[in-house]
Symmetry: C2
Subunit: 430 residues, 2 copies
Amino acid sequence: MSAALPASTLAPDDLSALCLGLAQRAKAASRVLTTVPTAAKNRWLLLAADALLAHQDELIAENAKDVAAAPGFGLNAAAIDRLTLNPKRIAAAAEGLRQVAALPDPVGEVREATERPNGLQVLKVGVPLGVVFFIYESRPNVTTDAAALCVKSGNAVILRGGKEALHSNTALHHLLSIELVRAGLPANAVQLVPTTDRQAVGHLLAMNDLIDLAIPRGGKSLIQRVAAEARMPVIKHFDGVCHVYVDAAADLAVAERIIVNAKCQRPGTCNAAECLLVHAGVADEFLPRAGAALQAKGVELRGCPETCRRVPGARAATEDDYRTEYLDLVLSVKVVAGFDEAVEHIATYGSHHTDAIVTRDIGAARAFTRRVDSAAVMVNASTRFNDGFELGLGAEIGISTNKFHARGPCGLRELTTYKFVVTGDGHVRE
Amino acid sequence: MSAALPASTLAPDDLSALCLGLAQRAKAASRVLTTVPTAAKNRWLLLAADALLAHQDELIAENAKDVAAAPGFGLNAAAIDRLTLNPKRIAAAAEGLRQVAALPDPVGEVREATERPNGLQVLKVGVPLGVVFFIYESRPNVTTDAAALCVKSGNAVILRGGKEALHSNTALHHLLSIELVRAGLPANAVQLVPTTDRQAVGHLLAMNDLIDLAIPRGGKSLIQRVAAEARMPVIKHFDGVCHVYVDAAADLAVAERIIVNAKCQRPGTCNAAECLLVHAGVADEFLPRAGAALQAKGVELRGCPETCRRVPGARAATEDDYRTEYLDLVLSVKVVAGFDEAVEHIATYGSHHTDAIVTRDIGAARAFTRRVDSAAVMVNASTRFNDGFELGLGAEIGISTNKFHARGPCGLRELTTYKFVVTGDGHVRE
């Protein structure tokens, strides 16, 4: 399989030309993709799934080079595990491609249709965005997921994976490219930035005339860099400081189940809870039992004085704690005087990602869903449900806390825009 | 009525503090607007319409100060006419407010509703964007239109009109504010930047933590400045280089009616046609008659050699002509060898705004609507129909050629985003 160019062989002008070439080829491919039938895109996805399985041994061999080099990049055991490909993970990646093939095509979808009083037919029709620049960190299965979602939604994609996964990504991209040609799609529908030079990202983020959207996926510093440098729109969230608010009218057994799930089921994810807010009226009854249940799962609690008084072993929270996305088995806790204080706390310290209320009071539930300004607001459900698959989008390329374009989980439809298609019989304006 | 501060009285630090105060008050007002009932917003719109009529004389007196000063700002007769308020125009502004009151409220609208297999109810609900910064040039009726659309869609708005209209805008804003309070809405839902200092715009465009959207409306240089400086998303189009393509299978009488309407009905608008493309197969028959019809309406034609050969009086077009938005009775014309050349010409020279095909061939119509990457694609209809009212949106705050968020005319719904509201019975993820 083709090797990537090492960064050191490229002079600045060559790097700039290389990036321009990538973007121009992507733009040309995107124009072809606009009119490609759904069947051809699905054929590619199924061929690519078969190719992953058929070339499993080569993929694992290439991946082994990355795994061997990983300690040199400073990766810890957990990161090396996420980087590693094995037959089970390759099968899962192939299954992911098949699932995207099974999803409806958002391109050509008629989203609204009206006939005006003068007989003019007005359709709003789904169309691709164009070219997506996707920048991500080490897990190689993201390579196939992102390529599948972008191409199925009619977009060309430029992939920029982490340097730690370069051999794996190059091998995966090679297979995807071969099958693009076999399926009759433009080979440049999926391109991989063939250098690990960090400046390549800066060049591409400046090309807003050729690239329509940037999507960073990884740590906060990566996302901040992309948001600061990109001249095109960015689908992103910086962090997920997600809250569970236990209302005065909560079913406390439900509240305990939800906070334990929201914190512990997968603490490293953006939709895991980072802060528990408890109405003062139920603090005496709820905090000791919930605190013990969380501690039994290994959660460190950092609370306000009212919390610490009720939960043995809880340490005092600082102001900073309430702004922190721990991504770990740590939870900040605060007792609030009432509903309004909970909403104000979330507005002040939250990140507009996912916030939940636990209550049996329908009025409190309605007020919470209206007043909390987050991408997803949960009533009597775990914050962990803010996920493209769980909310019925089929798959997701990321979760947005932007208010513009798409908010919350972004699936195939969120990778498209629309155009108005207006048909008359010679209509003119009077 | 309150007078605006003259720019010269403000030191740089004071200007910066003034802008920050505007944005902070707007943000606070926007949080209240999120939960305001539709009835209160409509009550304000109707009260404001009454107030415009009741205070017609004062409005005209304030406007007279702007009109008197207008020649000193270099405004020509047409611009002074647009600036002038009279009873008829005030009545039209009041009627505009009443029409917005009659439109459906996009806030709280359930846009999608599903129940997941596990019983979780998932709603996508319309919510306001937050704070809109609206920057526009002289026509004072835009002040009431923009305020109406922003507040009805639940957003606070900061208005920045042209210096030429400062007295008129201050008087209009004063009336709108009084009626906000009377209707029980936050007074800061509509604010006017109370200085004509150009640096105020720069300050506000940098406040992406407080302002969610910028909308510039005016000449290309204003829009370019806003797009370059804004750190928040911008709804905009730079220009409208709109095409009418007359296909080999066109009904030539329809084609003539459409190009005359698209060019002449209101040549100064962004959706007026600027370029006519004619299939070589019908050029002999179509160009002499269409050329004469356009010239009879006072249109200057600038054509390719094939055009000039067939249209007496047409002068030779330069390469630049094909990129120019004339906004005047001038039209570039080109004979193309076939459908593909027409589509390529539009891709190369167009501005992705509005492009039309005239044809009886359904295959050509379908291919054109798929391949032309514009906000609105017209089949056998004038480009002039790309307009919020004509396409059924009720009203519009602008037309977007962005692909992100909203494309084409932007009405009330395009001034909103959505949130996911997810309700369970204690659901947790396994």
